[in-house]
């Protein structure tokens, strides 16, 4: 497998009037094509910074970030625009990129229908449940057919029940669309239930402290939570995170 995203000795420094803050120092890791990588770290270790760097919204102070392919960004909240219908929300990234070809719209609509949003296309976000809204947000992210999905704690705003379901949902959609994904989370069990590989970051300035390849294969999230190895991984990551 070829790697699609590569961080090489990346340092990022935040500048404020009061001083400077080293958010990441000599951060090195890579993501392979088709891989699902989860990054966990203590709170405030600069996880979101890392995604902004990957997406090219910020430039590293030092080091290089190489990527092949386009990005789709998914945030904690769905961030659907309340004045647009679900359909118009899904078309938003196409509009922004001036991709007006009917095939592209049709492709996006096809995804929406395939993943159960067909009846809600003309509805407004306020009329949908939290889980459905997050699903719409994922379809919006997939509308431009990005190569890499950047997921910034995309389930943390949902209640526990919905969260497990949406997690299952999203994992299924990402696997069946064969996307590469980089997930940032503080939830250890979420990381284990979704990822092929888990990176554990240190406290600020963030570095990769440990990297683990999980051995669950294509087992979906809820089944993984029941799997024998799950609690072992949880304890291990928990210890590493609190080291």
């Amino acid at each position: 497998m070829k790697n699609i995203l590569q961080f090489q000795d990346v340092t990022y420094i935040y500048h404020t009037v009061r001083g400077e803050l080293v958010a990441a120092k000599d951060l090195t890791f890579s993501v392979d094509e088709g891989e699902f990588v989860a990054i966990i770290g203590p709170s405030g270790c600069g996880k979101t910074t890392l995604l902004s760097l990957a997406a090219g919204l910020m430039k590293p102070s030092e080091g290089t970030i190489e990527s092949r392919g386009t990005f789709g960004y998914m945030l904690q909240k769905d961030e659907l625009f309340p004045w647009r219908t679900i359909e118009k929300n899904i078309f938003l990234p196409l509009e922004v990129r001036h991709q007006k070809a009917p095939e592209q719209r049709e492709r996006a609509l096809g995804l929406a229908r395939k993943y159960g949003l067909g009846d809600f296309l003309k509805s407004y976000p306020a009329q949908l449940s939290g889980g459905m809204r997050q699903r719409a947000a994922l379809i919006r992210t997939l509308a431009t057919n990005p190569d890499i999905l950047l997921l910034d704690e995309p389930f943390s705003a949902l209640d526990y029940q919905t969260r497990l379901n949406v997690c299952e949902d999203v994992a299924g959609i990402i696997r069946s669309e064969k996307k590469t994904a980089l997930l940032i989370t503080h939830d250890i069990s979420e990381a284990i239930s979704l990822a092929d590989r888990v990176l554990v970051l240190t406290a600020r300035p963030a570095r990769v402290a440990h990297a683990h390849t999980l051995d669950f294969g294509d087992v979906p999230p809820l089944k993984r939570r029941e799997a024998a190895g799950f609690s072992g991984w949880f304890e291990r990551l928990w210890r590493e995170l609190n080291a």
């Binding site: 960004y73 945030l75 922004v96 431009t144």
Partner: protein
């Protein structure tokens, strides 16, 4: 929803609501009638001097005579034109300036102290300057109206633009949106409720501006009638002009509310 037959309890709830609304309206009208009646009574009985207090019947007679000599609609027209022109210019210009300030943070920082001072300055202090610059016609009054309204419009819209959800901006940026796209796709649509509230505030500001302008310098208009009436001790004229002013201001506010209803209906939010 409409096809579902209501429960008895719900029907009772709807009936109560309707009754409550009727009571509120009856009380509103009753209160007005009571106040006007008392006013008329105490002046008719001579308990207070109608020369000082005027009275509803004298106001009606004054308005009728203004109508008879053809000056009623002339004065209303003059003030209405000044108010609407000043309102329109203040709103459009204020909106444009707020946009420019949102666009450039540097410009915003540069102009901030000027806007703060202009906001705090009582605009009437500029009266003599305005007379000298614009003369004693309607232009001076329109200028005063714009001056009173524009700062409020700028500050109101700017704070709405700046309050745009940063996560939604991040989302658009991650899609590769330009600043112009962030403006048209996010900032403007999400500032839509603020536009309505700015219009409502500015209706009031426009009337303050135009009447204040007419107090300083004018040869016609409702503000002129009030000042002139005060100077020659014709309190009937003062009261009549004030009464008409109340009606016009309420009418203009109602128009904005109507506009809001139409727009909200169209966007179906």
């Amino acid at each position: 929803m409409k096809n579902i037959p209501y429960s008895k309890e719900h029907a009772r709830f709807l009936r109560r609501r309707k009754q409550n609304l009727a009571v509120v309206w009856a009380c509103r009208i009753g209160l007005l009638a009571l106040l006007l009646g008392m006013w008329e009574l105490v002046t008719a009985l001579g308990w207070v001097d109608p020369f000082i207090m005027s009275s509803p019947s004298r106001i009606a007679r004054t308005i009728a005579s203004l109508y008879a000599d053809g000056s009623l609609f002339y004065h209303i027209g003059v003030t209405l034109w000044e108010t609407l022109a000043g309102f329109a210019v203040a709103v459009v210009l204020g909106f444009a300036v707020a946009l420019a300030l949102w666009w450039s943070e540097t410009l915003r920082k540069v102009l901030e102290p000027y806007i703060v001072v202009l906001n705090a300055l009582p605009k009437i202090a500029l009266g003599p300057l305005i007379i000298i610059w614009f003369g004693t016609g309607s232009e001076a009054i329109v200028f005063m109206t714009v001056l009173v309204g524009i700062i409020v419009a700028i500050l109101h819209m700017l704070s709405a633009f700046i309050a745009t959800d940063p996560n939604k901006i991040l989302l658009l940026k991650s899609m590769g949106a330009s600043k112009a796209q962030i403006l048209t796709k996010l900032v403007l649509p999400s500032s839509y409720p603020a536009v309505i509230s700015m219009l409502k505030v500015n209706v009031g500001m426009a009337w303050i501006g135009s009447i204040m302008g007419e107090y300083i310098v004018s040869r016609a208009g409702l503000g002129y009638l009030i000042v002139y009436g005060g100077q020659v001790f014709k309190l009937d004229l003062v009261m009549s002009a004030t009464f008409i002013l109340c009606l016009l201001a309420a009418g203009m506010y109602a128009l904005v509310v109507l506009l809001e209803k139409i727009l909200v209906k169209n966007t179906e939010r």
